[in-house]
């Protein structure tokens, strides 16, 4: 049986992790490669790097981070942030990413999704959707959640699948940072519409928040940042909480 993936997500700027990170026994918690290794050892099912670097020079730094991580961690790695074209995707895949998340560029020009799928295969293309409740539906926001688009999130998810996305990374802008749990109605609306896997993101505040995203929301994977980085929840606790609630997880012995 396929297991629920638990995915720690690291924000990286100019080659350094940005959110405060409190990791026991780690000499340099600002080094994304060291953190990736720590999560690898704890049995994370996949890692996600989100590049929030603004400058052009920083892009090369990110490729180096990806390369050094892939040299040491034999696990799936998704990289997103600032991906504009199929050429960007190819560069990241060559550096060692397994999947590349496209956000603003896919919303601005959905044809990019098909171009990326043609170059890297659908399994390498993740479309990242940042959505906020608007009346009875959800609207997509881009540029780190600052820019409204007027585009319906559910309709766009269906279009992303049609154009060759292999996965949806769905972040609730209403829930992100609140630590009040994932946005279950949003997850349900998307997972009932598409047949590709959906990763839940935004709102995890405790280990108990993870299972509802899977069991009620229909997500295939749960992504979280601060609860793992601050040591509030270990990967082992996350696995246990999911298993206790009835969501299957991968057996892992540290």
């Amino acid at each position: 049986m396929l297991k629920t993936r638990i995915i720690p997500c690291l924000d990286v700027k100019d080659g350094r992790t940005v959110k405060g990170i409190n990791f026991v026994d780690l000499r340099d918690a600002g080094d994304p490669v060291a953190l990736a290794k720590a999560y690898d050892a704890q049995g994370a099912d996949e890692l996600c790097f989100l590049d929030i670097t603004a400058s052009h020079e920083g892009r090369g730094t990110m490729l180096d981070v990806v390369r050094r991580t892939a040299e040491q961690c034999f696990m799936p790695l998704t990289v997103g942030g600032g991906v504009r074209s199929a050429a960007d995707l190819v560069q990241l895949l060559r550096s060692g990413a397994d999947k590349v998340a496209i956000n603003s560029a896919a919303v601005a020009n959905p044809a990019v999704i098909a171009e990326c799928a043609a170059k890297g295969g659908s399994q390498a293309v993740v479309v990242a959707i940042d959505a906020r409740k608007s009346g009875d539906s959800w609207e997509i926001f881009t540029h780190g959640g600052r820019q409204p688009t007027g585009i319906d999130a559910v309709e766009f998810a269906a279009e992303a699948e049609r154009r060759g996305a292999g996965e949806i990374l769905l972040t609730s802008m209403d829930k992100d940072g609140t630590k009040s749990g994932y946005d279950i109605p949003l997850l349900k609306a998307i997972t009932e519409t598409v047949s590709i896997p959906v990763v839940a993101s935004g709102g995890a505040g405790s280990a108990q928040d993870l299972a509802p995203a899977v069991l009620e929301g229909g997500a295939n994977a749960v992504l979280a940042a601060s609860i793992f980085h601050f040591g509030e929840v270990t990967l082992a606790e996350a696995r246990q909480a999911l298993a206790d609630a009835g969501a299957p997880v991968r057996p892992f012995e540290t």
């Binding site: 396929l2 297991k3 996949e46 696990m75 799936p76 397994d98 399994q123 292999g166 295939n220």
Partner: protein, 214 residues
Amino acid sequence: MTTLALIDYGSGNLHSAERALRAAASLAGSDIVIDVTSNAGRVARADRIVLPGVGHFADCAAGLRAVDGMTDALEAAVISGGKPFLGICVGMQLMAEWGLEDGKTRGLGWIAGDVRRIEPDEGLAVPHMGWNGLVLQQDHPVLKNLGDDPHVYFTHSYAMVPANQADIAATADYGGPITAAVARDNLFGTQFHPEKSQRVGLRLLANFLNWDPS
């Protein structure tokens, strides 16, 4: 000195496979030389051969056939020469007779059967993406010592359907059994990605490096 030819024909997981094979060699205590090559002559002379592959069956088949002399060298080394062979993901699918992804594309024809789109029931997502348990169907040296309930990383929408059940080395349960590994004689193939499957994957690769099918 023994060498392993890791075939470079533009596949996306080439470097991941290279890094994992180097780590596996260290784990296996092997001093095998990992030769990443698109040179048919070097493949013909290698002691072991690994064919990676991700993405589209037809693209990979075309990419492999575009490398001068490569399919002939593979045929000579693997089928006539009996060298241990490992295919990973689409590299494994290419061992089949036919791929049915967007039309019908001829594979290497080493394992009787087709590669077909997976159509799980129960509203399961496609691609089959993530960690799934291996159900061993053969007592095979490459599948030894993987631990209790070994899990490996899959990401695929198509899977091999071998004509002979005996060629299936392992399955995974995804709304029914799907082919996770195939094996016959000196041939081994994994639908999953050992290079992305942490300790279980490295152990499997180390087993392959030590495997003597003769």
